[in-house]
């Protein structure tokens, strides 16, 4: 990893522990995200990557540990401070989460109308710019239901970009899209990074995407980090789960620990 001073670190996660009831979902998570990089959180289904993302954007409170964004403790903020911090972040949801009752243009304009005192004519121009940026110029008057899956994700990105954020979070950006549309979206994530020096945190399980966009990869297995670094560093790791993931190999039945299997069936410790 390149030498970095403190100003280069935009997100820092320290000893993060997240629990659902008694079940520990994330355990001892530590990592740093540098300004302007694309940081990919990679892992299989149920490894806790979506939970990690929900904690990073403040939709969940951790059990313990700290999340520092621009050096400020995001987990210790009150509602007002968190609202302010959120104006500098954007998030693209897996299902795009556009408001179905509003046009695409109104969706993009919403954060501007609510958080700024700009003239309506200015907001309209800014909305058009954001839609052009994601390749949806001319679709402002469409309802979200009239767009295809890929277009919805692009519209979601335009809305996340509305307030010119410093950090943008993507939840499974290429899930459910065909390879061509998914590649287009990967290109868009790169373009945003180059054009605006935007820091991106991407949660995904698509290896193809990771190869295209990742600067740093953080690999999770059962709530723990098993690999952290550039893609090539991870590929060189001699860890069975990581190798399996890269080779797209199914879990070998003979590798399953029989005692653990028995425990999972009986529920006894």
């Amino acid at each position: 990893m390149a030498a970095s001073n403190d100003n280069d670190i935009i997100i820092e996660v320290r000893d993060l522990v997240v629990k659902y009831g008694d079940r520990t979902v994330l355990d001892g998570i530590n990592f740093q995200v540098r300004r302007g990089e694309i940081f990919v959180i990679l892992g299989g289904s149920g490894c806790g990557k979506s939970t990690l993302l929900r904690n990073l954007v403040g939709l969940m409170r951790p059990y313990s540990g700290r999340i520092l964004i621009n050096g400020q403790d995001f987990t210790a903020m009150n509602d007002e401070e968190r609202t302010d911090a959120r104006k500098r972040m954007g998030m693209c949801f897996q299902g795009s989460a556009l408001f179905g009752s509003m046009s695409v243009g109104d969706n993009v304009a919403l954060p501007l109308r609510e958080h700024t005192r700009l003239e309506e004519s200015t907001i309209e121009i800014m909305t058009k710019i954001k839609l052009e940026l994601v390749g949806l110029g001319g679709f402002g008057d469409f309802l979200p239901a009239e767009l295809s899956g890929g277009m919805k994700k692009r519209a979601g990105l335009a809305r996340a970009m509305a307030m010119d954020p410093e950090i943008i979070f993507y939840d499974e950006p290429s899930a459910g899209l065909d390879p061509i549309v998914a590649a287009g979206l990967d290109g868009l994530i790169r373009k945003m990074q180059h054009t605006f020096n935007l820091t991106s945190v991407v949660v995904t399980h698509e290896m193809e995407s990771v190869k295209q966009i990742a600067d740093t990869v953080c690999m999770l297995e059962r709530g723990r980090i098993v690999g952290l670094g550039a893609l090539e560093e991870l590929r060189a790791l001699d860890y069975p789960y990581v190798q399996q993931f890269f080779a797209r190999r199914a879990q070998d039945e003979s590798q399953i620990d029989s005692a653990e299997y028995l425990r999972s069936l009986t529920g006894l410790e």
Partner: protein, 264 residues
């Protein structure tokens, strides 16, 4: 035996939890309705007006039709008894009192529950399932200000307004039947009988009830909406339970207010 104790214990805990959640919801709504606007965070008036049109104006045709028919029905039922004593002019008293004090507020509330309470639950539930509520949070927009307060204000005004109109329509239904050749009351006598038998308190009773019915419909709808888990099926289930809970609470409130006004 233990299962009975366990069941009732769990039910009590669930009810307590629900009560707590509703209290949080109420405090948050009042905060965004009265406190935050003073700190320069305005209300969403346009959205409130749109909801008022939906809850109030668009409910009028069906509420009007049903209340007209109910007016005709009570008049006919009253005529059945009163004809035996040749006292058909007292139909006016019966229809007037029942419409103002009881049936117009109740029918309006039940119909608006079915039309709008269910719609509130379905809207919020679908938004929750589609991560739209999360999107609001992440954008730094408060769901209470954005979703709840406009609905609450609109419902608070719409239900009493619709109820007052429903009262007149119900009386009109009774009037038309009683003065038809079927019963044959003189229209002038019917009018005078209605005006003389009703006092302002009857109308106040109905309107006060309707305000509380409106609050109930709105909060139950919102609460059930936020309870939705797990896709379209969850939305359907909570929408049904929103209507059932709402109607149950409306009847319960009706009983409480009727008792209070009976002694007052």
């Amino acid at each position: 035996m233990t299962s009975v104790v366990g069941y009732s214990g769990r039910a009590a805990l669930d009810a307590l939890h629900a009560g707590g959640m509703v209290c949080v919801l109420i405090v948050d709504t009042l905060n965004w309705l009265f406190v935050q606007p003073l700190r320069g965070k305005g209300l969403r008036l346009r959205s409130t007006v749109e909801h008022f049109v939906e809850f109030g104006v668009r409910s009028m045709p069906i509420v009007g039709l049903i209340c007209f028919l109910v007016g005709v029905i009570i008049a006919m039922q009253s005529a059945y008894t009163l004809e035996k004593w040749g006292a058909t002019k007292f139909i006016a008293n019966l229809v007037g009192i029942s419409a103002l004090r009881e049936l117009a507020p109740l029918m309006t509330a039940v119909l608006i529950t079915g039309r709008c309470g269910s719609a509130i639950t379905a809207e919020i539930g679908t938004m929750k399932v589609a991560e739209e509520i999360d999107a609001l949070h992440v954008m730094g927009l408060n769901p209470t200000k954005f979703l709840i307060v406009p609905k609450f204000l609109a419902m608070l005004v719409a239900v009493p307004c619709v109820t007052v109109l429903a009262m007149f329509i119900m009386i009109l239904g009774g009037f038309l039947l009683s003065c038809s050749p079927l019963v044959g009351v003189d229209p002038v006598i019917y009018y005078e009988q209605t005006v003389n038998s009703l006092v302002a308190k009857d109308m106040v009773t109905g309107v006060v009830k309707s305000i509380f019915f409106g609050i109930t419909i709105c909060w139950v709808g919102i609460y059930r909406g936020f309870q939705v888990e797990g896709g379209a099926e969850g939305v359907g289930r909570k929408t049904t339970s929103s209507v059932v809970t709402s109607i149950f609470l409306i009847i319960l409130l009706d009983l409480v207010w009727t008792t209070l006004f009976y002694f007052a």
